[in-house]
Amino acid sequence: MASPLNVSVVSADQQIWSGEASMVIAKTVEGEIGILAGHEPLLAILAAGEVRVNATSGERLVARADDGFLSVENDTVTIVARDAELIK
C-alpha cells in the first residue's frame, strides 16, 4: 500500500487538524472527489458541504469548510477555509 496522505485542515486563525489519513473525500464545485495516496497535483474550489477524512488511526473526521479550497501535492492534502471547523 502506498504511503498515507498528510492531511491538514486549516482555518484563518488556526490549524484545526493535521495528521495522516488514508482517504479524503471532499465536495468541490464540480462534484464529489475522493483522494487517495498518489493522486495527481490538484487545486480545487470547495463547494458548501462537508469534507470527510479517514485517518489512519481509524478516526473518521468530518469538517465543514465552506468557501475554501483543497490542494493536493505530493501526497500532502491541505484543506483551507476562512472559517473551517470540525463537526466531529
Binding site: V10, A12, D13, Q15, T28, S71, E73, V80, R82
Partner: protein, 300 residues
C-alpha cells in the same frame, strides 16, 4: 519653607499615582504580547497554504489575472494605514503615519493621486485633525483583530482596485504597518499589495515552455485563481493586522516601562529635595529658637 515641603510631597504623590497606572498597563501589555504573538503564529498555516496555492497556479498555468498584472498607466494609488485605537504606545502610531506620509510624498512625486484607507482610531484622529479625507476607516479592534475585519478591508480595496479610473478606481494599493521584529523593535513597513508582486514560490521555476507540468485545477485555472487571489489579499491584510497588534502591545509595554522608570527617578529626586527642605526647615526653627532665647537673655 513649609510651603516648599508641601509642594514636594504633592509631587511625589502624583508621581506615585502615575507610576501605579503605568506599571499596570505595562503588565497588561506584557501578558497580551504573548497572546498576540501566538495568534500570529496560529495564522501561519493558513497564509502558507494560500501562498503555496497561489504560487502553484502562477507556476503551473499561464493565466493572467487583473490582480496580478501591472497596468500600463499608473496614476492613482491607495494607502492602507494600520495604527492603534489607543495611545500610550510610544511612537507606534506616529511612526506608521510618518512612513505613510513619506510614501504618499513619493507617490505624488510620481504624479499619482493618493487616497487613504485607515485602520485604527489614531489614524482617523490624525486625518480629522488635519481635515483630510479618507475613503474608509475601521476602528475598534486593532488590539485583537478578527478575520471579518480583514475580509471587509480586502473587499473594499479589491473592489476599488477593480473600478475604472473614471469611477475613482485605484491602480495600486500599498499597506503600511508595524512589523513585529522583536520585543524591543517594531519597524514600520511598506508593502505593495496590489498588483501582486511577491509570490513566494516554493515550487522551482519551470523553464518557460508552453507545456506545463501536470496539475489539475477544478473547475479551471482561471476560476481557481479568481477565487484564490481575493483570499490571498485578505490573508495578507489579516497578517498585517496581527503583526500590527503584536507590535502595538510590545510598543506599549516598552513605553509604559520607561514611564514607570521615569516615575521612579522623579520620586527619588523629589524625595531627596523634600528631605532637604524638611531638614532646612528644622535647622531654621532651631536657629530661631536659639536666637529668640538669646535675645530674651540679653534683654533681662
Amino acid at each position: 519653607m513649609g510651603a516648599q515641603l508641601r509642594v514636594y510631597r504633592s509631587k511625589i504623590k502624583s508621581a506615585q499615582t502615575t507610576k501605579k497606572i503605568t506599571r499596570a498597563m505595562e503588565l497588561i501589555s506584557a501578558s497580551r504580547i504573548q497572546k498576540a504573538l501566538s495568534r500570529v503564529k496560529a495564522s501561519e498555516p493558513y497564509s502558507r497554504a494560500i501562498t503555496r496555492a497561489v504560487s502553484a497556479v502562477a507556476t503551473y498555468s499561464n493565466v493572467d489575472h487583473p490582480l496580478t498584472s501591472e497596468r500600463e498607466k499608473l496614476d492613482s494609488a491607495a494607502i492602507v494605514i494600520f495604527t492603534s485605537d489607543r495611545g500610550l504606545a510610544g511612537a507606534f502610531s506616529s511612526s506608521v503615519l510618518k512612513e505613510a506620509e513619506r510614501l504618499a510624498e513619493l507617490l505624488r512625486s510620481e504624479g499619482k493621486t493618493v487616497s487613504y484607507y485607515l485602520v485604527g482610531r489614531k489614524a482617523v484622529a490624525y486625518f480629522n485633525f488635519r481635515k483630510r479625507d479618507s475613503v474608509k476607516s475601521w476602528t475598534g479592534s486593532t488590539d485583537q483583530p478578527v478575520i471579518e475585519t480583514a475580509q471587509e478591508i480586502a473587499e473594499s480595496v479589491v473592489s476599488s482596485y477593480n473600478l475604472d479610473d473614471q469611477e475613482g478606481g485605484v491602480d495600486e494599493i500599498h499597506l503600511v504597518f508595524n512589523r513585529f521584529v522583536s520585543m524591543v523593535t517594531q519597524a514600520p513597513e511598506v508593502v505593495r499589495l496590489l498588483p501582486l508582486e511577491i509570490v513566494e514560490g516554493e515550487v522551482p521555476e519551470t523553464p518557460s515552455t508552453d507545456v506545463y507540468p501536470l496539475y489539475e485545477f477544478e473547475p479551471d485555472a482561471a476560476t481557481v485563481l479568481d477565487k484564490l487571489l481575493p483570499i490571498y489579499v485578505e490573508s495578507r491584510i489579516y497578517n498585517a493586522m496581527l503583526q500590527s497588534a503584536a507590535s502595538e502591545h510590545a510598543a506599549r509595554q516598552k513605553a509604559m516601562k520607561s514611564a514607570s522608570d521615569n516615575a521612579d527617578n522623579l520620586i527619588r529626586d523629589y524625595t531627596r529635595l523634600a528631605n532637604n527642605a524638611r531638614q532646612s526647615e528644622i535647622t531654621q526653627q532651631i536657629s530661631e529658637i536659639v536666637g529668640g532665647a538669646d535675645a530674651l537673655a540679653t534683654a533681662k
